[in-house]
Symmetry: C2
Subunit: 188 residues, 2 copies
DNA sequence: TTCAAAACTAAGCAATTGCTTAGTAATAAT
DNA sequence: ATTATTACTAAGCAATTGCTTAGTTTTGAA
């Protein structure tokens, strides 16, 4: 009855996600998205509603990639704290760009949009952060000697360190980043 | 011979700086600057050339404030590592906004503009980061027992931690931030 | 083969962006 | 008082923003 789409939504969203990741939300225009996704504006709007819709789908795509390449590996690993350290190094690989890294898409976004960010976008970011933290807590809890207060404090410590890693890897060299990761885990 | 300016450049730049700090570079429009600075676009352009010029002057203003409220205090203090910890807490106070903080203006900027940032702006950011690091190294060196390799590694660790603090304080609550600072200094 | 439904192209919309310019008002040495 | 110099107001510039719409093409059930 009706004409078929000439693109696969998941495929073009992955392209959009990568552009947002490299470029940020505000400075990525609909024209740039058009080019990168390889589809017309009409198609974009009919598939995803508006620019924010494209971004929300991009976040979903990012979460999926992060799950596959970061969270699943963390869960599978059995060597406690060392597994979290591996997670830090995996994140650096995950967010690698050219010479410098592109950070975490969601950390970048909260840093760019701040508290004026759209409610929908913000709640997705908060959900993601909660997820990451719970994965870290889960790993910390494999050490039965730690009381819950220690776990909470160490989880906060690691979460903020991870944020630092995300931003710092966008402007610092490899050596400084590795110094940082090693130092973070020296005392746990 | 000629008419007098009806504003003091340093005064209106401080207002511009605060707007950029709260709002970011790209999302701050010339119209918003006009309102905040209380001067006409013509005056803005005749005093500072263009939007980038206003921002570069805002960076100078930020550096001056940071020197007065952060670096000078750090230099004066004599209690080694503890002084750096004080610096971390002072930064939180320095960047306080409403419920959440507004981070470091320069960290925000590098995170927003990335490597595509204007050369002039980027070099100001790098210079600032170098300054901060040298202040930290200077404080670390007061402990004569530390060899230069330890100092370098600890300086990198503290620099990235500071970046993490800047970003994390924009989205995390006070408790998590304080947990982080305490943990950072537990092992030094 | 017909035809309604959906997807395409491309032109165009109002609003906003950074920036400029034409015209007027204030200043102080002459 | 005149005059050259600078600062002001406010209107307007082209370019870009996110988004829409008019018109055409493809599709497959009837």
């Amino acid at each position: 009855m009706a004409r078929k789409k000439e693109y696969i939504e998941e495929e073009v969203i992955e392209k959009a996600m990568n552009l947002f990741w490299r470029n940020g939300y505000e400075t990525t225009s609909v024209r740039m998205l058009e080019k990168e996704m390889g589809i017309n504006q009409f198609s974009m709007y009919s598939s995803f509603g508006n620019k924010q819709g494209v971004f929300l789908e991009s976040i979903k795509c990012y979460k999926k990639k992060a799950k596959e390449e970061l969270f699943d590996k963390l869960k599978q690993s059995t060597n406690g704290i060392e597994a979290i350290k591996e997670y830090f190094y995996n994140f650096i690989e995950f967010s690698k760009e050219t010479r410098l890294n592109k950070g975490c898409l969601l950390t970048n976004t909260v840093n760019e949009l701040g508290e004026y960010a759209d409610t929908l976008i913000m709640s997705e970011i908060v959900k993601f952060a909660t997820d990451v933290k719970s994965h870290i807590i889960e790993k910390l809890e494999t050490d039965k000697q730690k009381d819950s207060e220690t776990i909470s404090k160490q989880a906060n410590y690691l979460m903020v360190s991870l944020q630092g890693l995300s931003v710092a890897s966008k402007m610092f060299e490899k050596q400084q980043i590795e110094d940082f990761i090693e130092s973070v885990f020296e005392n746990l």
